[in-house]
């Protein structure tokens, strides 16, 4: 949608600074918009306000200590971030993770996907202009999930619960009941969102045909996750390169058609339904057993001169860990491949030619977590 301005008098483009301390930028993201009237002509993103050197910190910490830093790179889906890290360590250390630990990990990761997508739905609703209602609804459902995480791991956001080899400690006795209980409220929450937004004419008018990105462009820019799938590319690492036991699970990968903001919303909502079904299947297969391998060394040391790249499907896309070991109990190099950073590359392409007000919605629809972008 390109709108021409009236050609008969001379106008000057205006630079508008958005962020970094602005709630609509989802953290400390700053962008400079060059606008001609209401139309965005150029967009210059500035990142790095939240850089803490998480990769470097991990290189100075052993493999158990590193888990805590991984939580903080992706604070809305910490279980998924931890998972990539411990899987990378396990791949190099050739650790066999017990079955029970794998199932619990899968359940927790999917639950975390649900809580992260609820956060998206709420924040996105605010961006679109339905202040309050969806945000508080999302918060209510997310609260139930976070309470569950707290009962299991002890913390509400920075779980530090996965360890190379398995889990830090056993889940509480009523784990299965509690997960099923939470899924009931999650289902209700998803239905509420569906009723609240999906067919709401005002919402549709704000989101349909806004911020379109084609499948070719999306692939070119290295996008991943729901943001890519909304453009019609069926790429889900859980399906294409199954890790853990995802190959034994029956689930679908919802894709969009148009690649617009609405598709990015609906793909996430459908993905949540799939997550619920994955969790139910996992719960059926959960059996008793150890959660850590036998003969686990007290201090894990990796073999020398090896490297590995592990990627998993986090709620925002491909979360990858590149780990190089030169022996010892610390990584020699650790690189986090963040999905948000790659997805953010598309912001300019999506926003140029759109209204200023839509630029915020487009940013919201990418669902960035700045701590993951900057690390």
């Amino acid at each position: 949608m390109v709108i021409e301005s009236a050609p008969d008098f001379e106008t000057q483009d205006l630079l508008i600074n958005v962020g970094p301390q602005h709630p609509s930028t989802h953290g400390v993201f700053r962008m400079i918009l060059e606008v001609d009237g209401e139309i965005v002509k150029d967009l210059i993103p500035h990142i790095g306000y939240l850089h803490r050197g998480a990769e470097k910190l991990c290189e100075n910490n052993d493999f158990r200590q590193g888990v805590g830093y991984m939580d903080r790179t992706e604070y809305l889906a910490s279980h998924n971030a931890e998972l990539s890290y411990v899987m990378a360590v396990e791949a190099l250390a050739e650790l066999e993770v017990p079955e029970r630990a794998q199932w619990i990990r899968m359940i927790l990761c999917e639950l975390n996907r649900l809580s992260s997508h609820f956060m998206f739905l709420g924040a996105f609703g605010v961006d679109v202009g339905v202040f309050g209602t969806p945000f508080i609804y999302a918060w209510r459902e997310r609260e139930a999930l976070i309470d569950l995480f707290e009962e299991i791991s002890g913390d509400r956001m920075m779980y530090a619960y996965f360890r190379a080899g398995g889990l830090a400690w056993e889940v509480p006795g009523n784990f299965e009941e509690r997960v099923r209980e939470v899924l009931v409220s999650t289902r209700q929450g998803m239905k509420d969102f569906d009723n609240l937004l999906t067919r709401n004419e005002i919402f549709l008018a704000r989101t349909k045909n806004v911020g379109i990105i084609s499948a070719e462009d999306a692939i070119e820019l290295g996008m991943s996750g729901p943001t890519l799938r909304a453009s019609g590319v069926s790429l889900d690492i859980r399906k294409s390169e199954p890790y853990m036991y995802y190959d034994q699970i029956d689930f679908e990968v919802p894709i969009g058609t148009n690649g617009d903001v609405f598709d990015r919303y609906i793909v996430r909502l459908k993905e949540m339904e799939q997550s619920v079904s994955i969790i139910e299947q996992c719960l059926e297969r959960l059996n008793d057993g150890p959660i850590m391998p036998e003969r686990m060394p007290r201090m894990l040391r990796l073999p020398e001169g090896q490297e590995v790249y592990i990627r998993t499907e986090a709620p925002r896309g491909e979360y990858g860990i590149y780990l190089v070991s030169k022996g010892g109990n610390k990584p020699w190099r650790l690189k986090v491949r963040s999905a948000c950073l790659s997805n953010l590359q598309a912001l300019k392409k999506m926003s140029v030619g759109q209204y200023v007000a839509d630029a915020i919605i487009i940013l919201g629809s990418i669902d960035i977590v700045l701590s993951e972008v900057d690390r």
Binding site: N61, R64, Q65, G66, V67, G68, Y69, R72, T133, R140, E143, D147, E150, E151, I152, S153, G154, D155, M158, A160, A168, W169, E170, P172, D192, N195, L196, L197, T198, R199, N200, E201, I202, F203, L204
Partner: protein, 156 residues
């Protein structure tokens, strides 16, 4: 139009739902047993001394280096005609709560089950005016365990 009416119906349905919020701070939510606030030292009531032997294991394992431990000979040891089996005991112990990232590693590495994460509200409501007040010393770290305030949950 039908979509908007449906949205409104969803909003209206909340009138018949009960509130989900708690009236914090006048009413506190119940915390689960595993809740992790900040680490605390535990008090051995049988012998009346800390469990901690000052072995520095937690200090070395802490990712953010927020602990400082000083060890001393136990004046209450059996060889000194005391009733304790601990040859060494903690002399001074500081934990900087301002730096602690509540990762539970110190609890996991301790061989004497001498340290535990505070799982009461007192561990969460620790706001102070001066950051230096967040550096807890031995008496402060012991207080909750001495007065039986914490319900213990030590991860294995």
């Amino acid at each position: 139009m039908r979509g908007i009416i449906k949205s409104l119906a969803t909003t209206m349905s909340t009138f018949i739902r009960g509130p989900v919020t708690h009236g914090y701070p006048s009413k506190h939510r119940e915390l689960p047993e595993r809740d992790r606030a900040f680490p605390l030292l535990l008090w051995d009531k049988d012998i009346d001394e800390p469990f901690c032997t000052g072995c520095h294991a937690c200090e070395r394992a802490c990712p953010v280096e927020c602990m400082t431990v000083i060890m001393k000979d136990n004046p209450n040891h059996e060889s000194q005609d005391g009733n304790s089996k601990r040859r060494k005991i903690v002399d001074e112990f500081w934990i900087d709560y301002g730096r602690c990232m509540r990762c539970n590693i110190c609890v996991e590495v301790c061989n004497f089950e001498a340290i535990a994460m505070n799982n009461t509200w007192s561990g969460h409501e620790t706001s102070v005016y001066d950051r230096a007040d967040l550096v807890m010393d031995l008496p402060q770290l012991m207080a909750q365990s001495k007065s039986d305030e914490i319900q213990e949950w030590v991860a294995d």
